[in-house]
């Protein structure tokens, strides 16, 4: 079963917030994550977006992630992506997003990069 809201958020050590996206981030899913991502971008400085549980990602979902990342980075924060499954990774690479938002294989790597030392 997919979660009703396809995003969960958790603050972890080092001031890092992990936003985990879930299931299908299609047109409907993107609208559901827009507001939470916007709130996240307005309130957090070190954000890791965990994509490991995403089954489908369309351009609307990428747009929501890129808008949040732009906002966070413009306030001298950091935003990265973690562990997109194969098909989702192909979409991210095809859109050129891996070149502009750091993309890590594991949560540990992303957290270390966001909060060095």
């Amino acid at each position: 079963m997919e979660a009703a809201v396809p995003i969960t958020m958790k603050d972890i050590d080092g001031g890092v917030t992990v936003a985990t996206l879930l299931g299908r981030i299609d047109i409907a899913g993107a609208q559901d994550i827009d507001m939470p991502m916007n709130v996240l971008a307005g309130s957090k400085r070190k954000v890791v977006v965990d994509l490991s549980q995403v089954e489908f990602l369309a351009s609307m979902g990428i747009r929501s992630i890129v808008l949040a990342a732009k906002s966070i980075v413009s306030k001298r924060g950091t935003c990265s992506l973690v562990a997109p499954p194969g098909n989702v990774r192909t979409v991210i690479d095809s859109a050129g997003i891996d070149m502009i938002i750091p993309t890590f294989d594991t949560l540990d790597e992303a957290v270390r990069a966001a909060s060095p030392g």
């Binding site: 299908r24 990342a69 732009k70 499954p85 192909t90 050129g96």
Partner: protein, 162 residues
């Protein structure tokens, strides 16, 4: 003696709202099952169909207005042809968003045009024509070509579960 399977033909009519667009996914999934479509091709074709339908819904009709979008698919194990048609405003996605280089920084990353970029990437061919009051977008997926994309995608997959 194995007989060549006859192509699967199916038609879906949608209203241009987000609930209806979500119907594309289960509809095409059942077509994919009937032609034993590999998971990655299923993913990529669904992506293109959803991007095409959401473009048509966003650009073809007045804000808040709802129009009808039809999707017709002919599928066999080597090729999938999908035709999207609607009676919205003339909208040619191929000229609206010409191919562009990838963004070099987050600052210059454009927020629009991403859907069409993905459509160009994953469809083998895209053709648009306006016939009278109808927008018609034909999307062709050569499944041999799509499995190449699959392999490229999988070689990038590191540590991802699947």
């Amino acid at each position: 003696m194995a007989e060549p399977a006859s192509p699967v033909r199916a038609r879906l009519t949608l209203r241009s709202g987000r609930e209806d667009l979500a119907a594309i996914h289960p509809w095409f999934e059942s077509i994919g099952e009937r032609i034993a479509l590999p998971a990655s091709a299923l993913f990529q074709i669904q992506l293109v169909l959803e991007e095409a339908a959401s473009n048509a819904a966003l650009h073809g009709f007045d804000a808040g207005g709802v129009g009808e979008i039809a999707l017709e698919v002919t599928a066999n194990p080597t090729q999938v042809i999908a035709v999207l048609s609607d009676q919205g405003r003339p909208f040619d996605p191929l000229t609206e968003a010409p191919p562009s280089p990838p963004p070099r920084s987050l600052d210059e990353a454009a927020i629009g045009g991403l859907g069409i970029k993905l459509m160009r990437k994953f469809a083998s061919a895209l053709r648009y024509r306006r016939i009278g009051p109808t927008n018609e977008l034909t999307m062709i997926f050569d499944l041999a070509a799509s499995s190449k994309v699959l392999n490229a995608g999988q070689s990038l997959e590191r540590g991802a579960k699947s």
